[in-house]
Every structure is written in structure tokens, then in C-alpha cells.
């Protein structure tokens, strides 16, 4: 009979280095799912003891106590108490403590130890504590707590083996907790501080990097300039660094397409492969480099500890529209994708602020809009420089991001004033010490993001592309007629019905056509256009040129700008609507969100089109 491997939960305060320890123990083979009944992300993975026996690890959301004030904290409490139905109670706990922050972190540790589960304490980030001039006595701490204490540096993989050995021992010989449960919060805090004092051997004024960096990064003026410069650099990098890899991917797909054309006779199957699959899926995969660069920046900002500083700098401005610095982090993540952004709102304590943040998250320009922006900007905006090192194309892209942000701010102010009717917001957050991000952790995370994107390209986008190809290819236009294939097809006829609605905002037949599948995923708008033009191409030479020049030849500048404006506010993809429904427990808010975004997008595209027309564009 095989036995289930023991389940061990990593638990501790936010910023204790829990996830880094989890990555170090389990490696890259992690499973990401949700806890039963809630949308909190559950990360699990396998680790093994010295003799090879497996152990299943889960990484619980960071918490300050077993008395939760956020959804994340409630999950942590329910799992360690065994109260989450459908989830097995852990057999043991690894409490992750920030060695440099014992007096604040020990209180929660005491609460956890008192539960009586086999427990090991990982005294993590011991190197940072030493850097700051703190010397600790792990033995004394173990003596006071009554459980093994192992010094670890997760990011340098130090102390992992002793930790697993101690965990093995704790599982084999459970000891009753010696720690009496202190009744009041105050008494627990006092006890925590006493233990911390007993464990600290000496403390000298260290180099205090964090304080020095804060003096610069939180500077009343300098801090703002640095944050804006960082964001600008981020968006320029998304454009500039991705050029070469995008070229490689494009030529790869072109080679593939040519190869198929050389070996296959002209016909339906060849059209399906080259015009449908390669033109459609290829035009989306091309954007993988840009999406990874964006995620790279966001992951680095998070791992280094800068993200909460950005929240600090932004708090007052967010307060002006009824939000707080807490909303800044989910909103910044929404630049990569609104789905993790919306899930990250769970750390916001104020429920009205959380709802408002969810509702405006889709206005942050997510990476799925990048393909659309890139194609249109590439086709219509000249690649000239407006200043040293500042390209006009990058500047326009930056402007589109700013438009999204301003739209979001306006929407937030209106929502907080009239919809949630919230009077106040609050901002109260721990600011972790700065640390050098470990590239391995960043790499694991980037790989997970790339995989999610490619899976989407391989499933939703692949399916949407095929359906669209079929809708565009049938029924066949009669040979010799002067009606084009696209006009004659099923899709063309659907677009005919849609066209009168979007004609006033400057959209043509092709755009009407592309908007339908774009509801599944925004980047499909690009593959849809690519498929339309590939099928419509009269001869091989025209089909071989890429999408940009064709659009430039076919659309007016006013139409292109209106199309961009539409996508600044574009009604979000189906996945975002689904996650909003889950996070707000019903259809009321997702329907509200979709409606107001549609109205905004239509208005913005219309205003842009008619303004551009009046300037004669």
C-alpha cells in the first residue's frame, strides 16, 4: 500500500522570504491551482528528505495573524486549522521568520506553535540581518520556542538540508508545545519581544542599506522623478529590447510558411496551414518577447522590495481619486495582465476600495493590447526621433499607457463617489528591506508566465483563429465575380451587420470583423486582421508582406487612431470577465464593468476619429 506523502505548509509573515524558500525547496516543478471554493492561488510542489522520501509542500499566503483582515489571511488560517473543506490539514508547519525582524514576526510564530502541529522554524534571511549588524543565537531561540530553529538563506540555498532533516525529525517525534497560549494581543506582543531580546546576541549599527536607499527613493521630489523614470524606461524597453527577438520569430514563421508552400500544392489545406494557423497564431506569438520584458520589470520591482516604495510614492495621488497606494500594486500588475492584477486586490483591506480597483484594472494597458498597439503604431507612426534617444513610436506608446491611466483615475473617482460611495481609503503597509533579486526565482516566474501565454496561444487563440479562418473562407466567392472572398464569406456578412454601428467612429469593415474574435482575447484582433488580409491577398507576393504595410495602405490615419483609442478602453477579454465574476461573487459587477467600458471605448474612438478628421487626417 502506498502512503500519501506528508503535507507540509510554509507559513509566515509577508516579506519573510517564504516564496523564495518554497522555490529553493521544490525547484521549478510547481503546481499552481486554486484553494477549493476560493480564488486564492495555491502553490504546491514536491521536496524530498535526505533518503529520497517525498514530501508535499504548499506555500501559504503571507499573514500577520490567525485573526485575518484579508481574504488571503483567511485562507492561511483555515488551512492551518484544518477548517478549509476539501483541503487536507498540513501534517507539519515550517514557520518562516525574517531574522532581521524577529520582534514583529515572533508573535504570529507563537500563535502557530501553540497549535501543536509538528513545527520547524526557518530563521530566514540571516545574511541580511547580519549585514545590518544583527547577531542572533538560533539555539537560544529554539530553547525559548521549544521547536527546532534552522538558520536559512533561501535565495542562496543555505540551510536547506538541515531544515529538511529537522522537519523529518519533527514529523517522526512530535513534541507537545511548551508554549502556553497568551490570551491578549498585547501579552503575545510582549512575549514576542522578550524572546527576541533573548535571541539577539549583539546589535551594532550596520550599514543600513535600506535606510540610505529610502532616503533617495522616498525623497519628496527625487522619489517621484525616479519612479516616473523607471516606468518610462520600462515601456521604452518593452519596445526597444524586443525588436531583435521579434525579428527572429517572424523570420522563423516566414520560413515555415514558405516551406509548406514549397512542399504542398495550392489548396484548402495549404490555405488552412499558412493563412489560418501560421498567420494567426504566429502573429500573436511574436509578442512573447514584449510580454516577458514587461513581466521581468514587474517581477524585479517586486523581488527587490521597491514595489511598496512605489506604492508609498503614489499613495497621495491615488487618495485624490479615493484609492490608496495599496491599489497601485494590483494596478501595476494589470499592465502585464488584468487577471493577476485583479487577484492581487485581495490584499486590499478596504472592501470598497478593492471593488473600485477591480473595476478599473482592465483600463491599465495589459500586455494583450501590446500586439494591437505595436502593429498600428508600426504601420502609421514614423520611426523618427523627437529627441536624443526618444523615439516617436515609443512616445506614442507611452501616451496610450497614460491615456489608460487617466481614464482609470477618472473612472475610479466616479466609482468611489457614486457607485461604492466610499468616504475614505486607508494605507498601512510593511516596507520590506531591499534585497538583490535571485535570478533563479525570477526565471521560474517568467517561465510560468511564458507558459501561460503560449498555452493561450495554443488553445484559445488557435481555436479562434481556425474558426475565423473557416468563417472567412466559406462560402467560396464564385470565380470571376468582383466580390472579394472576405466580403462574400460568413464572417463578412456578420461584419456587414456590425458595420453600421461602428461606422460613425471611423471603423471599416475589416475592423468590425476583427472586433468579434477580440472578445475572446484582445491580441486576436491582430491575428484576425492578419488572417483577413492573408485570405484576401490576390497573389503570393502581397500575402508575403507583413500586416503593417497593408494596413497603412488601406486605413486612414484617423481610423488607425480611433482603433488605438478603442483599445485603450477596449472591453476586456472573457477571462477578465470570468475572474471579476469570481472575485465579486456574482454577475452584477462584471456586467457593470463591461457596460461602462464599452461606452468609454465607443466614445473615445468616436472623439478621436472626428477630431483627427477635423484636422484633415
Amino acid at each position: 500500500m502506498t502512503q500519501m506523502p506528508p503535507l507540509v505548509a510554509l507559513v509566515g509573515n509577508p516579506n519573510a522570504g517564504k516564496s523564495a524558500l518554497f522555490n529553493a525547496l521544490t525547484g521549478a516543478r510547481q503546481k499552481i491551482a486554486n484553494y477549493p471554493g476560493v480564488t486564492v492561488e495555491r502553490k504546491s510542489g514536491r521536496a524530498s528528505f535526505a533518503d529520497g522520501r517525498a514530501v508535499e509542500m504548499i506555500d501559504l499566503p503571507g499573514a500577520y495573524s490567525l485573526d485575518p483582515d484579508s481574504l488571503d489571511e483567511a485562507v492561511t488560517r483555515d488551512v492551518v486549522l484544518g477548517n478549509l473543506s476539501g483541503h487536507r490539514r498540513p501534517d507539519a508547519l515550517v514557520i518562516v521568520l525574517d531574522a532581521g525582524n524577529l520582534d514583529n514576526h515572533l508573535r504570529f510564530a507563537l500563535e502557530l506553535i501553540a497549535l501543536g502541529l509538528p513545527t520547524v522554524v526557518a530563521l530566514n534571511m540571516i545574511d541580511l540581518a547580519e549585514r545590518d549588524g544583527l547577531r542572533l543565537d538560533a539555539q537560544a531561540l529554539a530553547h525559548e520556542l521549544g521547536v527546532p530553529v534552522i538558520e536559512t538563506v533561501a535565495v542562496r540555498r543555505r540551510g536547506l538540508e538541515p531544515l529538511m532533516t529537522a522537519l523529518d525529525g519533527a514529523l517522526k517525534n512530535p513534541v507537545a508545545p511548551i508554549e502556553p497560549v497568551a490570551t491578549s494581543f498585547g501579552a503575545q506582543n510582549q512575549r514576542a519581544r522578550d524572546i527576541a531580546d533573548a535571541a539577539i546576541i549583539s546589535e551594532t549599527a550596520g550599514r543600513q542599506w535600506t535606510r540610505r536607499l529610502d532616503a533617495i527613493l522616498l525623497h519628496p521630489v527625487g522619489g517621484v522623478v525616479i519612479l516616473l523614470a523607471l516606468l518610462f524606461l520600462m515601456f521604452q524597453a518593452v519596445y526597444g529590447w524586443s525588436e531583435a527577438p521579434i525579428g527572429w520569430i517572424e523570420s522563423g514563421f516566414a520560413l515555415l510558411s514558405d516551406g509548406i508552400k514549397n512542399v504542398m500544392p495550392d489548396g484548402l489545406l495549404r490555405s488552412f496551414l499558412t493563412d489560418g494557423v501560421i498567420a494567426g497564431v504566429g502573429s500573436v506569438i511574436v509578442f512573447l518577447p514584449q510580454i516577458l520584458i514587461l513581466f521581468l520589470f514587474i517581477l524585479l520591482l517586486e523581488a527587490s522590495g521597491y514595489m511598496t516604495r512605489a506604492a508609498f510614492v503614489m499613495d497621495r495621488m491615488m487618495a485624490a481619486v479615493g484609492l490608496s497606494g495599496h491599489s497601485f500594486i494590483p494596478l501595476l500588475s494589470s499592465f502585464a495582465c488584468a487577471i493577476p492584477g485583479i487577484m492581487a486586490t485581495r490584499t486590499i483591506m478596504d472592501q470598497k476600495e478593492r471593488l473600485a480597483t477591480i473595476l478599473i484594472a482592465p483600463l491599465m494597458t495589459c500586455s494583450a493590447r501590446l500586439p494591437v498597439y505595436t502593429v498600428i503604431i508600426g504601420a502609421f507612426i514614423p520611426a523618427s526621433n523627437v529627441g536624443p534617444g526618444i523615439g516617436l513610436q515609443g512616445l506614442v506608446l507611452f501616451g496610450l499607457y497614460i491615456a489608460g491611466i487617466l481614464g482609470a483615475m477618472l473612472a475610479a473617482a466616479v466609482i468611489q463617489r457614486f457607485v461604492t460611495q466610499s468616504r475614505t481609503s486607508s494605507f498601512l503597509i510593511e516596507m520590506p528591506r531591499y534585497q538583490w533579486p535571485r535570478l533563479g526565482d525570477i526565471a521560474i516566474n517568467l517561465w510560468q508566465r511564458a507558459w501561460v501565454f503560449l498555452r493561450r496561444a495554443g488553445t484559445i487563440i488557435f481555436a479562434a483563429t481556425i474558426i475565423l479562418w473557416a468563417l472567412l473562407s466559406f462560402p467560396k466567392a464564385p470565380i470571376g465575380s468582383n466580390v472579394s472572398q472576405v466580403e462574400y464569406s460568413v464572417a463578412g456578412r456578420i461584419a456587414d451587420g456590425l458595420e453600421p454601428i461602428v461606422r460613425p467612429i471611423g471603423f471599416n469593415h475589416d475592423i468590425a470583423l476583427a472586433l468579434i474574435p477580440a472578445m475572446a482575447a484582445r491580441e486576436v484582433a491582430v491575428s484576425a486582421l492578419a488572417t483577413v488580409y492573408a485570405i484576401d491577398a490576390a497573389d503570393e507576393d502581397a500575402a508575403a508582406t507583413s500586416l503593417g504595410p497593408k494596413l497603412a495602405a488601406d486605413w486612414s490615419l484617423a481610423t488607425a487612431l480611433a482603433f488605438l483609442a478603442w483599445f485603450v478602453f477596449a472591453p476586456q477579454c472573457i477571462s477578465t470577465i470570468a475572474v471579476t465574476r469570481r472575485e465579486t461573487n456574482g454577475w452584477k459587477w462584471p456586467i457593470f464593468m463591461v457596460s461602462y467600458l464599452f461606452v468609454l471605448a465607443y466614445a473615445a474612438a468616436g472623439i478621436t476619429y472626428w477630431t483627427a478628421r477635423s484636422f484633415g487626417l
Binding site: 525582524n101 520582534d103 514583529n104 510582549q190 535606510r211 499613495d315 486607508s426 498601512l428 516596507m431
Partner: protein, 80 residues
């Protein structure tokens, strides 16, 4: 002296906290971050531009950001 009026970079001790004036969730989070009478505290930075809000303070060995409105509920005494 209230925390929002504390001069920067001077060590002080929390004398009392007016829990009643704080919304429940803020009081609770403040407690779990280690704000208690008797704890050492130091104001480090004030927010951006003309607002000078929020504040970053050191509590024990932890750095916490909070708004001046919450800081006003925390009464401190400069250590001599």
C-alpha cells in the same frame, strides 16, 4: 506628541494609541504590525511633494508606511 508631528530621525516611544478613533480594520492591522504602547518608534520619511503624507516609520526593526490621519492617533514621547 502625535506621531505625525514627531521630528524625523529621532527615537521615541509609543505612549498610547487611541484605538477608538481608528476604523476596526486599521486598528487591527496596526496591532498586527506591532504598534503597542512601549514600543520604540522613529519617523523616517514623509510623503511626496507638498503633501508630506504618508509617513514611513520604524517600529521595532520593521519599516511601516502609514497615513498621517492614522499616525495622529498614536501618541509618542521622545526618548532622551
Amino acid at each position: 506628541m502625535q506621531l505625525d508631528h514627531l521630528p524625523l530621525n529621532q527615537i521615541a516611544v509609543i505612549r498610547s494609541i487611541d484605538w477608538e478613533s481608528l476604523p476596526d480594520h486599521e486598528g487591527h492591522r496596526l496591532r498586527s504590525l506591532g504598534f503597542e504602547p512601549g514600543v520604540t518608534i522613529e519617523a523616517l520619511h514623509k510623503g511626496i511633494l507638498m503633501w508630506r503624507d504618508p509617513l514611513s516609520v520604524r517600529v521595532g526593526r520593521m519599516t511601516v508606511a502609514l497615513r498621517t490621519k492614522v499616525a495622529a492617533a498614536i501618541d509618542c514621547e521622545l526618548s532622551t
